[in-house]
């Protein structure tokens, strides 16, 4: 046995499961933090600034944030690389399709690959829009509340964000349950609870994230 985890299809799935769960944990925290926008600009901006001071004085200013960013970047790269390599293997293993087509698997299951690509592109846009401000006309760093309101005052900002969050919900629904199977924690008795957690997590994340653009659109946040 000289093979490593990375050499095995089961091992690569393990990498996907672990990196996916890391990102999922981050998203839950991220979503909860976003909800502070409903308490006004003072509280939201203060929260955004606090994120830069986590761990002080043990950690230097913004170090905690950069540690999180590095971990997330590693998780995204590991997740996407293993997904790409596993997909290549899967497509090669079934080169010719059946002549007689029939609907297969649930919508969430069938859209994992495209959903993942959509989410990958969204992450790039999201960082350029609200972290660096590269694609954000009139971006002012240090004023996150105003930047968020600006983004969701444009039709394309809303469309991109809402489509991506729906993709996130579907991706989470199949992804969380699948991660449990890959890590071997699923069982017949636990299956119902795992599926419930996956569905609740998908719903809470999607609704929580989408509530921000909806809040801006309805004038609740301005």
């Amino acid at each position: 046995m000289t093979r490593t985890i990375w050499d095995s299809s089961v091992g690569k799935k393990t990498v996907m499961a672990v990196s996916g769960l890391i990102m999922l944990l981050y998203l839950v925290v991220h979503m909860l933090g976003n909800l502070k926008i409903f308490f006004g600009s003072g509280e939201f901006n203060h929260y955004a600034h606090w994120l830069r001071t986590i761990g002080e004085p043990f950690l230097h200013y913004e170090w905690a944030l950069w540690i999180i960013r590095v971990v997330l970047l590693a998780a995204v790269v590991a997740h996407a690389t293993s997904a790409y390599q596993l997909s290549r293997r899967d497509i090669k293993a079934r080169p010719s399709k059946y002549v007689h087509k029939r609907p297969r698997a649930s919508y969430a299951t069938r859209t994992m690959r495209w959903g993942g690509i959509i989410l990958g592109l969204f992450i790039v846009w999201h960082i350029l829009d609200l972290t660096t401000g590269t694609v954000h006309p009139g971006f002012e760093s240090g004023r996150p509340y105003q930047n968020v309101v600006d983004t969701f005052s444009t039709w394309y900002g809303n469309v991109i964000y809402i489509v991506a969050m729906l993709a996130l919900g579907l991706h989470t629904r199949h992804g969380f349950w699948s991660a449990a199977q890959t890590l071997g924690v699923g069982s017949r008795t636990r299956d119902r609870i795992l599926k419930t957690i996956a569905n609740v997590l998908a719903l809470v994340l999607t609704v929580g994230f989408i509530s921000v653009p909806v809040g801006v659109m309805t004038g609740l946040v301005s």
Partner: protein
Amino acid sequence: MKLTLRVWRQKNADADGAMSTYEVDGISSDMSFLEMLDTLNEELILKGEDPVAFDHDCREGICGACSLVINGDAHGPERTTTCQLHMRSFKDGDTIDIEPWRASAFPVVKDLVVDRSAFDRIIQAGGYITAPTGTAPEAHATPVPKPDADFAFEHAECIGCGACVAACPNGAAMLFTSAKINHLNVLPQGAPERESRVLDMVAQMDDEGFGGCTLTGECATACPKGIPLMSITNMNKEWLRATRKAGKR
């Protein structure tokens, strides 16, 4: 019953295949699906044409030789093997599409016959126990807890037909491999090779060019023996356990 059949015809492994259409008449609803194909083949032979090649052996649903993807379903619309599928599952005037298992690890030999020897090589990699052969040992010499015996038996039901591979959109052999691993890994007789079995069989499965698992559940839906999807979960658990142990050694 009168039926229209659209059957995959392919001269040999290297030739290009295509669907050919045939009409069959006088089919009884009590015939098995394979008997219906026998009827077609008798007509083809009388006409001097090449009969349709398909795999079959026991015709009792226990050997795993028969295959066929019927109207897009491995082993057809009922949850059983093709040999135990009866024509009463179809209506007079139906058009039925019949295709071989599709996976790059299962190359077509001729018409509906595919080469499933990749499964044999997965078994050779670890689907056995090291026990001295000879007279059968006393049955009570090795106690096996009832839940373990039931678990082992559930997985031992796998007949290795390959319907899981045929149904999987990734052409993965996870359900077959997991059934064989779980069957032996839970028993005291299989304990000495518990780790090497799962590592070697999964490695062989990868080497044969099968795809990976995306947990669509198609395999367990198609399985004529009802091997559950949780079988794969358990194999993943065994694989992670064995990998951790191998790392420590």
